[in-house]
């Protein structure tokens, strides 16, 4: 079986390698995209959209339709994880572990036992994963604000430097995930609940599609941000730049919320109770 698999992999690998010979050379000036599409972007993008970063201009404006459905795909991934993994009926676990904070003693309370109150000197801990490290907790506490500010910078500055909604959104989600790993899942869910992640994820997609629909209402084509000039109070070229910013913010919100949502469902196997 292994040999058959290896033969199939080698056959298809060499087929792919053979197909690569028909591609244009890397950076070939005579290849079809380099003849009319790329020169237009390179020469006209700054005049048409006032965005110095060509990649963002192509991603969010010229190919905005594509990016909208990429965001939708990410939201659908979060929804698929929710549908597959989430366990909705509440099950009481076999036993719960608590730590008495002043002494560090761990208590094991069987099903039906009297549980201590969360406030005060008892802290609930997970049965398979017990993060109890002062250095990790303090470091994550120290890093999180910087990480979040950097994520907001990446989202907002995506026009002028590498970055944008996807990258910034993942960093913003990673900040929450780092908090959940270094403390515990329940504390993270108290801060950003499951409903908040679901609502924010769909709100991000709605911001993107809504911006496009608003352009249609104002009489232009879908996602033609030039039509927002009257609303934003700027000229049509600057309006395309601002439209991209609005869209990138939508992408950032959707991606960060979906990252956290997938993390919650994966780490606790859908129970949202004990997890990494």
């Amino acid at each position: 079986m292994r040999i058959i698999g290896l033969l199939i992999v080698i056959a298809f690998g060499s087929l792919l390698r053979y197909g690569v010979f028909f591609f244009p050379e890397w950076g070939d000036p005579a290849s079809p995209p380099s003849l009319h599409v790329s020169p237009h972007y390179i020469e006209e993008a700054i005049a048409e959209t006032a965005v110095p970063n060509l990649v963002t201009a192509v991603l969010a404006d010229y190919r905005g339709y594509d990016t909208m459905f990429e965001t939708t795909v990410i939201f659908a991934a979060g929804l698929a994880c929710f549908m597959l993994l989430r366990v909705l009926q509440r099950q009481v676990p076999e036993c719960r572990l608590y730590r008495h904070i002043p002494t560090g003693i761990t208590l094991r309370i069987e099903k039906g036992g009297k549980l201590p109150t969360e406030s005060g000197s008892f802290e609930r801990i997970d049965s398979n994963w017990v993060p109890h490290d002062l250095i990790i907790k303090s470091t994550s506490r120290f890093i999180t604000p910087f990480l979040q500010i950097f994520a907001l910078y990446v989202i907002a500055h995506g026009h002028h430097s590498p970055g944008g909604g996807f990258q910034g959104g993942v960093i913003l989600g990673a900040a929450v995930i780092m908090y959940a790993i270094s403390y515990d899942l329940r504390r993270s869910i108290q801060r950003i609940g499951e409903q908040a992640t679901a609502v924010l994820g769909s709100a991000g997609v709605l911001i993107y599609a809504g911006t496009g629909a608003l352009c249609m209402v104002l009489g232009a084509a879908f996602l033609d941000y030039g039509a927002l000039a009257g609303l934003l109070g700027v000229d049509p070229v600057m309006a395309r730049s601002h439209g991209m910013l609005i869209v990138e913010i939508g992408v950032g919100i959707a991606v960060s919320a979906v990252m956290v949502w997938i993390y919650y469902n994966l780490s606790s196997a859908g129970r949202h109770d004990e997890g990494l």
Binding site: L59, P162, I177, S267
Partner: protein, 81 residues
């Protein structure tokens, strides 16, 4: 100088890909896969595609690693074949 560095990056990329396939410990495979992602991000930087490299570094070497580790935590740590 640049092409020597690129050749080195490609060598690390291929070695990482092969050892991620071959290794039995799945946690080690995830770490090696992150090295693979980071190397491909570096190659994209050397090609001048900074935006793509940024995405690859953030998603491939960061987020996917976390999700893979979570999946291993919920299943088994050893590969069966």
């Amino acid at each position: 100088m640049q092409w020597q560095i690129e050749i080195l990056l490609y060598i690390i990329l291929i070695v990482a890909a092969l050892s991620a396939l071959g290794i039995r410990n799945l946690l080690a495979a995830v770490v090696i896969l992150n090295i693979f992602s980071f190397m491909s991000a570096s190659i994209m930087v050397s090609m001048g595609a900074i935006d793509v490299a940024f995405t690859e570094a953030v998603v491939g070497a960061g987020a996917v690693g976390v999700f893979n580790i979570l999946a291993i935590l919920r299943t088994s740590r050893k590969s069966l074949d």
